[in-house]
Structures are given as structure tokens and as C-alpha cells.
Symmetry: C2
Subunit: 236 residues, 2 copies
């Protein structure tokens, strides 16, 4: 594969970790002891995630200053809980449930794929998740990052250009020496517009069976079925 | 040892890596082929390092905007080369020599010490060196960082308070939940003034035989002889 890059930047939610299944599991663990026994846990995960883009748009538009994604997740949680009849959930449980985003499980191909890629490339998450969240996900799943870049480092949220450009600059690299790896065409289009190379990872079931991107919706440099497939296609 | 912290932040130059011996070796490797055969290589390292604080003070004082330490190292190199009769050194060699700071060797106790500490604590460099420099040092020496924090992340140079406080905030921790680890009393005093816990590492030969700190010059929480000693004193 004639794609000579020096660093790989990774989207995390959906691309590397199964946010939907993990949040459903974590929500059940926190809420079930309070008597919520037949809640639609996957629906709860979808509802919480459904507030994600709108909350970040407040920052991207400049209507509010930058704050960590943990803060936005908490505001979104407080908005979603009443819809599921859980408006009485106490503060300690809300804090704990909000940290569910620090306890997401990686797709099985991710740890071995990253291990292979690390031998040849600098690796960093280029996610909207904050640094402490990425550190917890890395420790939980064994993700061998060289550095934690992304939204908190840049002070804005993807797909704002500075998030991608700040990551390349931190590694002393031109955008064309970097590859964005994501399961979402919109992320890759934003990166490509700035000169980064792109790799799409198929996660066809990310948002539920058949509700993820099985293939890129725009031209990319590499389309892969998993991180191990990406490692193979990059010759590592 | 009754010091309950959750993260350890590390000074790097001198505390974790032997900048003096490494820069002397790298300078010799770059300059000797140009006929510099009997240069005082350790003296060259000392002279280059001698420009370090003054260059950072330009940023700390606000006289110039923040720039990476690589940029300051390069200005300092251009200033030092003529003193050693090397003012004719070409651009490619200067670029290569400047990257000598990315090729420093860790003291032998550092990789095993960090490995032990990582089991219990979040670990990050809290150095004035830039992110790409830290990534290269980590890869060269096997330093298992959770994240790269420090000057470039904070946009200012130690001992400015925001460098320490930005690191604690990135990990969602109060300063008192963090410990600064350094071979330099001045660094530890700045951290302690902000509420961080402190550990001093003895590096008695850092600047030459007997020209380093064999013991802290102010009260610290832990005084250790090496990172392995620190790991033992923290019970890991």
C-alpha cells in the first residue's frame, strides 16, 4: 500500500470502542439497583449519545467556551434521565454513571491491531473525548498511545480544523504525513479537506444491527474491515 | 509511606535522562566528521544547556509567545556553535544536531522504576520539553506514559504555575492528589507551593561529577535515590 505516513490518528467512540453496548451495560449496573429492571438499556445509550453532537455544537459555534466532554456528557445525562423516569437519581450515582464513558470496551481487533501499528507509526487518539477519559480507556483496553491528542488538547471539537491540525503540529508533521482512522465518513472528510490521509474502518453495527457504516461514503485512501486489516494493508 | 496520590508527574531532563552525556555523544557524532576532533564535548553540552533558562524566560515573561522547546534549543544552538568554532555548520547538520534532545538516554533505574509505578499511578512527563521530543524519548527508552503533559500542553514553561495546574486538571485531579518527581529543588518548590506532593530523586552527577543535587534543598514528601527507590518507598 503506497501510503507513506508517519502518524496515525484515531477516532475512538465507535471506531475503537463499542460505546453502545458498554453504556447499556453500565447504565444497567447503576440503575437496576434503584428498581429500574426492564428499562431499554440500549435505548438509553442511544438517547444519551443522541445529545452528543448538539452539545458539542454549543462549543464549536462559540456559544459556550470549551469544556471537557465529561462536562457535556453530564449535562446530557441530566437531560436524558427524566425521559426514562429516573429524574430522582442522586448525585453520586450520576457522577458514577457519567464515568461510564471511561469504562467502554474496545472492539476485539483493536488491541492487537494497535500493537502491530505501533511498531511503525506514532499513534494517538484524535477524539472528542477528554484526556482523562482516554487514559482510562487506554488502561482498560491496553491501547498503546504515544500521546493523547484531540479535542482537549486543541480546545475545540471535531470536525473543527484546529483539532486535526493541532495533532499534526504536536508531532512536528505536515498533515499529509498523518492518517486519520475512523468509522465515520464525516470525520474522514474533514481530515481529508486539511490534507490528511484517511482510513475507514467498517463498524456496520456501531449504532445497532446494520446501523453503522459498513463502507466509506466518500473516497478514502484505505478501507479496512478492522484494525488488524488496516495493519495488514499498511504492511505491518 | 503515607502519601496517597493518584498521579505522578515527572521532570525529564536530568531527572529521567542523562542530557549531559547524551548531548556530548550526539554532538561528537555530528561534528567530528566535520573535523572537530578534540572538542570539549561535555563542555559543549554544558554551554548549550547553559542557554536553556534564559531562552524560556523570554516566554515566561511574555516577551515572546509560546513556542516549542525544539525552537528554543535551535536558537540556543545557533548561539553556541560559533563559540566552539563551528559557525560554518550547515542547516541539515543543525537540524539533526538539534534533534539530539530527542535521543537522550534514560538513567538505568528509570524504565524498571516507571514500570513498577505504572501499576498504581497515572504517569506523565511534566517537562519543558515538547510533545514530539517526549514521544521520541519514550520510544527510545521504553517510558510507559499515560499522557504527555507539561509545557506544550499548558502553553508556558515551568516553573509557571499553570504548567503544574494544567497537568492536574487534565487528569481530573486536585493538586494534592498529584506528586511532582524531580531532581531539582526549584521545580519541587514551585509544585509544592501549588499544593502538589513532592519527591526528590538524587542525581548527584547530573551536571558533571558532584555537580547535581545529592539531596533536596527544601522539605519534600519523599527523598529517593532512584526511581526504583521511589517505587519501593511508595509501596509498589
Amino acid at each position: 500500500m503506497a501510503v507513506a505516513v508517519k502518524a496515525l490518528f484515531f477516532d475512538v467512540f465507535g471506531t475503537l470502542v463499542d460505546w453502545r453496548g458498554s453504556i447499556a451495560r453500565e447504565a444497567k449496573a447503576v440503575l437496576e439497583p434503584h428498581g429500574f429492571v426492564s428499562l431499554d438499556w440500549l435505548g438509553f445509550a442511544d438517547a444519551w449519545r443522541g445529545e452528543y453532537q448538539g452539545a458539542m455544537e454549543e462549543v464549536r459555534s462559540g456559544r459556550i467556551g470549551f469544556c471537557k466532554l465529561d462536562v457535556l456528557h453530564r449535562r446530557n445525562l441530566d437531560r436524558v434521565l427524566p425521559r426514562f423516569g429516573a429524574d430522582k437519581l442522586g448525585e453520586a450515582d450520576r457522577v458514577n454513571l457519567n464515568l461510564a464513558w471511561h469504562r467502554l470496551d474496545a472492539w476485539p481487533d483493536v488491541p492487537p491491531g494497535l500493537k502491530r501499528l505501533k511498531a511503525r507509526y506514532r499513534l494517538a487518539p484524535l477524539s472528542n473525548g477528554n484526556i482523562s477519559l482516554q487514559v482510562d480507556l487506554a488502561r482498560r483496553n491496553g491501547l498503546p498511545w504515544d500521546a493523547i491528542l484531540g479535542a482537549e488538547f486543541a480546545g475545540d471539537y471535531k470536525p473543527k480544523p484546529r483539532v486535526y491540525l493541532a495533532a499534526a503540529a504536536a508531532f512536528d508533521l505536515a498533515p499529509s504525513d498523518c492518517m486519520m482512522v475512523a468509522a465515520h465518513t464525516s470525520d474522514l472528510k474533514a481530515a481529508a479537506a486539511l490534507g490528511l490521509r484517511t482510513a475507514h474502518i467498517a463498524r456496520p453495527d456501531e449504532r445497532g444491527p446494520g446501523k453503522g457504516e459498513a463502507a466509506p461514503g466518500a473516497p478514502v485512501d484505505i478501507a479496512a474491515g478492522s484494525l488488524e486489516d488496516l495493519a495488514a494493508k499498511l504492511g505491518t
